[in-house]
């Protein structure tokens, strides 16, 4: 595996982190809505999803830059 491929794999790995957070926060929202947990958690989780989307976007930009180099 050459250095560039290795770098891209690392960048892809970095993208999975925020994706994982988005998935888990969404699961938390479902749980809150299904139960009598405080509804403020929904807002907090939604904010974290939005932030993770931005992280994802940045990671994708890093991948794009790496491919163009």
């Amino acid at each position: 595996m050459d250095i560039k491929t290795n770098d891209i794999n690392t960048l892809i790995h970095n993208t999975r982190g925020p994706l994982n957070r988005i998935s888990m926060q969404a699961e938390l929202i479902k749980m809150v809505l299904e139960s009598d947990m405080p509804k403020e958690k929904v807002l907090a989780a939604a904010d974290k999803i939005i932030a993770a989307c931005q992280d994802c976007s940045n990671s994708l930009q890093d991948i794009s830059n790496s491919v163009q180099e």
């Binding site: 994982n20 957070r21 888990m24 699961e27």
Partner: protein, 442 residues
Amino acid sequence: MLQVLLVDDDTEFTEVGSQIIEFLGYDVAIATSLKEAKQWLQSQSFDHVLLDFMLPDGSGLHLIDYLKQNNFTPYVTLITGHPSVKGMLAGLCGPKVDYIVKPLQREDIEATLSRKKSKTTKNKRKQPTLHFGCLVGESPPMLELYSMIERVAKTSANVMLMGESGVGKEVVANAIHNITHNDKPMIATNCGALSKELISSELFGHEKGSFTGAIARKEGVFVRAGNGTLFLDEITEMPLDMQPNLLRVLENKKVIPVGGTQEITVNCRVVSATNRKMTELAQGDIIREDIYYRLAVFPIHIPSLNERKEDIPLLADVFLQQLNQENNTEFTWNEEQLTVLKNNDWPGNVRELRHAIHRAFIMSDPKSQEIQLPNTFISPFSSTDNNSSAIAPGQTIEDLEKELIRVTLDKVDGNKTQAAEMLGISTKTLYNRLHAYDDFTV
């Protein structure tokens, strides 16, 4: 309560993950590095470790080594972003080590902590092929049916589907539609369910005010089907005097809505269906000959379930999987149950099989994973009635003779002299026959 150690350096993930794990009913501790994880393991015992593959101070595999060296025996699930890690883990891991792939879902965590196979694993089980997205079966009659569907799908010919009730005529119509017009509408209507007064309106549409109750304009099924498929079920139940109207549309490809004057061009393929036998069609006043030839440009016979018994386990598997998916259960069949289903007579065909499986599914204990079949599948349409003497091709003369003797003995309450008289044989011959059928009990 089971103790879970969650090891990951992504603090947002550990925060939300721990809430979900607690919600699922487990106690959870968090470590963000190998060092912290080792500290937790030294201070208390854990039943399950959820472990990130890449940690700031080493790999998750180092922690597995540490567990082995210290004789700690929790279940370990590696959380990885690389599906390709599976091959590597296969050589490394013992029965107590598993892995899940990011991004995680609640059911992944739930399945892993209860050490059940997750849905993704279940789906890897070989499923029967869905031909044309909807048909199940690999028996010779079904393979022949698939070949006919493929052939007719290439043309625009009208198709008439014939077969007993419950064989899946509408499913076959769907299959034909799926191949040719899956981006276009498929409209189905049951000609047997429409009153004589409304049938024209249903088929051809009507204009506002064309009859009492016609409060708005309505498009008929020919127009609604557009360039797609129109499925006319139970076509032979359409009143004979209405059939000329249908013939005109089939010939001219134009409809005039009830109360209208403008002709509307239609361009759909008509797939019709009947459960009447060919002999009935020919003899009775059921369908006009000219209509039959228009509709049955390409007639297709759909085999009954008795003609393809080898497909019953495949169908049973598909129906049970559908019920499992709808109800989030994990019922399975065992081989004996599939044999029972295969040996049963299904006069109501696939529809009856499906309903019997649904009934068994409802009656089964949700805590068990094995479905419970009833002792008998009682059906008012069953052909196993003692009074019927159905003869099927392929039965042996010996079987028929045995059945005849049994029925006769039943009739005379087991009186062998009377039975012999009715059968036209001597009592001695009857005894000899009964002796020959040593498993025969009256």
